[in-house]
Amino acid sequence: MSKAALEAIKKKFSSELLSEHAQHGDETLVVKKEKLVQIAEFSRDDAELAFDVLVDLTVVDYLIEGRTPRFEVVLHLRSTSKKHRLRLKVPLEEGAPKVPSVVGVWKSATWMEREAYDMYGVVFEGHPDLRRILLYPEFEGHPLRKDYPMARRQPLYRRPERQGDVWEQKHILSGPAAGDHFKGTYDLDR
């Protein structure tokens, strides 16, 4: 990536920039969440940057590292004309993490943001349809958070309206609780 282009975005949003680093040629900018959409629009529309593809949008949970703020939204950008890449990171506080949605900038963000919401519970403000995308609506919690219990099961099959099923009453509801046979053999949390 050309130095001039990188300097341009750093100069324009110098107050929003928290830190930056680069390794083996992949530049990373850690930015504040308030101006994320403006930074995204600039990096898409600027002739030197021209990041027309949002390759990936994901979240990292730094609970085990004990880092504050706990969450970090990561955006991977790619320019098909300039053939360069940029990584944007947005730190988010624990509690109710919220970040402005970049759907208006790159439309491919819709499903990625839904997945990030589904797995980490990060709310993307301004997203047109922020629902779970992989898990079912009855699911409680966000499984890729590091404090989600690994052995916890939320069976869809045992949902209340199916409990009239004769076989289920005989074999499942009267038997040991689902997942009990894992205890002792596979319980890696011990």
Partner: protein, 167 residues
């Protein structure tokens, strides 16, 4: 009045013999185990030697459910619905460790063994199992059917016994 099938032991044995060599298969293939399931139908391993080569893709015409691969919590009601639609007596084979116990998955998404959803007659371990293991499992299932030991047969004979006691 008709023939009361459950009373005639010889007729029951004849029926079991016929059933074990004419199983219609409903494959429920979700994962990589399907790659080992495919050669099973080919000329080298040729499952038709054991009378269960007739693969149907409608559960109402089948009596052997092959659950091949990982079953997620989201799929569990679908699998149960397919099982419910099959013709009785019906037999279930858990193919591979994922179907048998969840395998190496222990997470929010995967059912730890399909026996949480449907009654399983034969578990075939392996990741994935060799076709020889599957043939061994089929032969064991045939022995179980001949002896009337599968879940479905026991339930049916239990129902018949209850009916006789009530009548």
């Amino acid at each position: 009045m008709g023939i009361e099938l459950h009373r005639s032991q010889y007729l029951q044995e004849l029926l079991s013999w016929a059933r074990k060599y004419s199983m219609f298969v409903q494959p429920y293939v979700t994962a990589c185990c399907g790659m080992e399931y495919m050669p099973l139908m080919g000329p080298r391993y040729d499952l038709s030697r054991f009378g269960c080569e007739f693969v149907q893709f409608t559960p109402r015409h089948t009596d052997l459910l092959f659950v091949v691969g990982t079953i997620t919590e989201k799929q569990a009601p679908v699998l149960r619905m397919i099982y419910d639609q099959m013709a009785e007596p019906k037999f279930v084979v858990a193919f591979g460790v994922c179907a048998s116990s969840g395998g190496f998955y222990q997470n929010y998404a995967v059912v730890p063994g399909i026996d949480q959803i449907v009654p399983v007659d034969v578990y075939i371990p392996g990741c994935p199992p060799r076709p020889e293991q599957i043939i061994d499992g089929i032969v064991r299932l045939q022995e179980m059917i001949q002896r009337g030991e599968t879940h479905s047969q026991r339930e049916l004979s239990g129902r018949a016994t209850q009916g006789r006691q009530a009548g």
